[in-house]
Symmetry: C2
Subunit: 187 residues, 2 copies
């Protein structure tokens, strides 16, 4: 029996994925990226971010279209509920990064996925951001991600999730923190 | 001259804001929230999150509509560019949280805003997530937020940004990290 390699698995073009890895190995500078968002205040807790340009592979690039997202607080938090809260976008970023990673890793390992769903829950005590307790942090106290995967052998699926965790940019950001500098032009 | 207190400033209903603070002071359990996202894999690096329900103020609540967002990788990162990357959503969350906070804080202090814009830049070296270097972290190496504010006295505006930083949930998450637990149902 002849086995034909499938270059596209889980919707991932593995031939291009491996070619990209080879290109980065040959020239590490290709891997230096800068992502950007611009945000504009609308009113109250409602504001809007746009993503378009980024730097990568030694050049300025753009998404094929600008992407725009609103954020707001719900009424119970004195907002107008024109979008999810900022902290909810962190949960999306985490789920999205782990899920993209596991699709890639499964494809690279020849593991087929048929279904991936996750629920992300973040517990937060608003006594922190409201300035009502010095004992309570501002951000989430803990986050739980619950994955449901269907596809090939369950053990292989679990290993793919673990490898995605080990290589996830957002998991690293959210668990380990990143230095943030803030500059202000006030006039 | 009689000064009339303006209960709405910067689009923030300050009367409701202070009433909410009083309610939380009287019953701290109101402040315990859980936010959630559900994510579903579409294909390759493309996936989609939905936000609808959350817990807060001692009850299950919902946004007034479900919000749905796609994430993907651009073509240069072997994706199909159907949405921003997961790491870009982190930048949006950070800008949105700081901006919502400063609108609230300015309103509470009687400071008028006319314009708030920010650009957030995150530097990342993909040698980390590609598994090509043990010396490079997976996530952003640094993030820079550049605010442009217009409104009342510039010194007051700068103080408002500083207080927003000190009380921002996402700034705390991104700079200090949060424990993340991952559960897997693989079948």
């Amino acid at each position: 029996m002849t086995t034909i390699e499938n270059p596209v698995r889980n919707g991932v073009d593995t031939a291009t994925l491996f070619a990209t890895l080879d290109a980065v190995k040959a020239n590490n500078d290709i891997a230096k990226f800068q992502f950007r968002a611009t945000n504009r205040w609308v009113s109250g807790t409602h504001n809007r971010s746009t993503f378009h340009g980024f730097h990568g592979a030694k050049q300025e690039m753009t998404h094929r279209q600008p992407f725009t997202f609103d954020a707001d607080h719900p009424a119970v938090l004195v907002g107008t509920d024109n979008g999810p809260t900022p902290v909810e976008f962190v949960l999306h970023a985490l789920a999205a990064c782990l899920t993209a990673g596991l699709a890639n890793i499964a494809a690279a390992r020849g593991v087929n996925l048929t279904e991936v769903e996750s629920t992300v829950e973040g517990d937060i005590d608003l006594l922190g951001i409201l300035g009502l307790s010095d004992q309570v942090r501002n951000g989430y106290q803990q986050i739980k991600v619950s994955f449901k995967l269907r596809g090939d052998d369950p053990d292989k699926l679990r290993q793919v999730v673990e490898q995605s965790r080990r290589r996830s940019a957002v998991y690293d950001i959210v668990t380990n923190g990143v230095p943030v500098a803030i500059e202000v032009d006030a006039g």
